[in-house]
């Protein structure tokens, strides 16, 4: 069977991007990569993906643009309000038994979910003893996350999400409005460590009590999902909590047996202790 030409071109382009710059999208789901590359092709005035490949190799700025195209930067505060409700109910009581809490938020993008978790932990009286490592491979997104400045117009949606998630305070207390920008409160930032980490190519980041990685794995093929799930398993303490996106699962990892399901719908898991529970 002859392969589709575009498919071959995409493989070669991803190979070029990896060999030249070290960013590895070769095991991402192809339909999503193809969609983003075709969008860029329509915008950049080139005729074929092969021409884009040549440009990627010779033009560092173009490569940087493509890298932004391929990374997942869609996020919002308190996305899936029910998830945060479940965290308050099922996970906070567990975290409260620890004298200090280490959380790894993998694939934090522009930081909205990290700030959401910081707000929740502050309200639950846990934030002062928490260190949150928020990581991403996209340096530009990470810089934005560290700044914690968002468009004011998004705050309406975030406020509605926050209220649905069981938030108890006035959401406007968590940011300062300045013209059309909302600046997140410094008190939310102080225990967040923003760091560059690539789930595809880097290894264990730290030993933590909780990992949050939501709506990242859906972009990976099953082999890569399994590899990253092993990385998470190796990073969690016994009894540690794993939070996935609502459509994600452990099924490609072969690790389901090593976890207890704390919330089936919200995809919250607890790593078993060596003896079982």
């Amino acid at each position: 069977m002859t392969k589709d030409t575009t498919e071959i071109e995409i493989h070669l382009l991803l190979e070029a991007l990896y060999r030249k710059y070290g960013y590895d999208f070769r095991q991402y789901s192809e339909a999503h990569i193809r969609r983003r590359l075709m969008n860029r092709l329509a915008l950049c005035g080139l005729q074929t993906i092969s021409e884009m490949q040549s440009r990627v190799l010779h033009d560092r700025e173009f490569a940087a643009v493509l890298l932004q195209d391929l990374s997942i930067t869609v996020t919002e505060m308190f996305r899936d309000a029910e998830f945060y409700r479940a965290i308050r109910q099922s996970v906070v009581p567990i975290l409260k038994t620890y004298s200090f809490v280490k959380i790894w938020h993998a694939g934090c993008s522009t930081g909205q979910e990290a700030y959401s978790m910081a707000i929740l932990l502050q309200e639950e009286g846990l934030y002062e003893r928490t260190t949150m490592y928020a990581t991403d491979f996209n340096q530009r997104a990470l810089d934005q996350a560290r700044e914690g400045i968002y468009a004011n117009e998004q705050m309406k949606e975030y406020t509605a999400n926050y209220q649905r998630s069981g938030g108890r305070e006035a959401f406007s207390d968590y940011y300062t409005s300045n013209y059309n920008m909302a600046i997140m409160e410094a008190s939310l930032k102080k225990n967040i460590v923003w760091a560059h980490h690539n789930l595809v190519t880097d290894s264990v980041f730290a030993e933590v009590h909780m990992i949050m990685c939501r709506n990242v794995l859906i972009y990976f093929n099953s082999d890569l999902q399994s590899k990253v799930q092993h990385l998470f398993r190796d990073s969690l303490t016994h009894g540690g909590i794993l939070c996935l996106g609502s459509k994600e699962s452990l099924r490609f990892s072969g690790l389901a047996e090593e976890y207890i399901e704390l919330d089936k719908v919200q995809k919250i898991f607890k790593k078993k202790y060596p003896g079982g529970e």
């Binding site: 589709d4 575009t6 498919e7 789901s29 192809e30 339909a31 999503h32 193809r34 969609r35 983003r36 997942i72 869609v74 709506n215 859906i218 972009y219 093929n221 099953s222 996106g245 459509k247 994600e248 490609f252």
Partner: protein
């Protein structure tokens, strides 16, 4: 032509339209069907189980990496795009909205057209925006079959009209005739 899959897009009025078509398909119907119905991101998947109960073939919410199986209807979850991969599995994504919609019909149609080429049937049903028009055009460009619900019989005619304006449509049918078309297409594959 032997068709291997059907994709359907619907918006306003779509729940009734989808129920009408899917519940009219017989248990031996083997073409996989993937559906995008625009819904509020807060909608749960209760309505999917209702359609499943009324239907002879299996109806379920699409899981990521799930293989398209014969005689099964896959519905995009609220707030996720649904795409078809080259190995005929399904992918979900939280990419930005397309045509103000997530899931978007164009996203499903375009990815399915890349995989099934001329062996794909695309169907645009009732709705009041133009999502699906470009996707249906792409299906036609790849040699697939384009079907649109007759705008006058749709609860909202705008979406079928936009699809008809965008491409050379093969069939414009009232809702109740669409399942019969599927059945005759299916018989050609046997």
């Amino acid at each position: 032509m032997i068709y291997r899959a059907i994709v359907i897009g619907a918006s306003a009025g779509g729940l009734h339209a989808i129920k009408t078509i899917v519940s009219a398909l017989p248990s031996g119907f083997r073409l996989p069907i993937a559906i995008v119905q625009h819904l509020s991101p807060l909608t749960d998947n209760y309505w999917i189980s209702m359609v499943d109960k009324l239907s002879a073939i299996a109806v379920k919410e699409a899981d990521e990496k799930e293989k398209l199986e014969a005689g099964t209807v896959y519905i995009a979850p609220a707030n996720y795009h649904l795409l078809v991969e080259r190995d005929e599995t399904l992918s979900l994504s939280i990419d930005p909205k397309v045509n103000y919609a997530r899931p978007a019909i164009d996203t499903l149609f375009e990815s399915a057209a890349d995989v099934f080429r001329q062996q794909l049937v695309g169907v645009v049903l009732t709705g009041s925006n133009s999502d699906g028009a470009l996707g249906l055009r792409r299906i036609k460009e790849c040699g697939g079959l384009a079907v649109v619900q007759e705008p006058g019989t749709a609860e909202a005619g705008y979406m079928p009209e936009a699809a008809i304006a965008a491409t050379q449509v093969d069939y414009i049918l009232p809702l109740e005739k669409i399942a019969s078309l599927f059945i005759s297409i299916h018989q050609q594959t046997l």
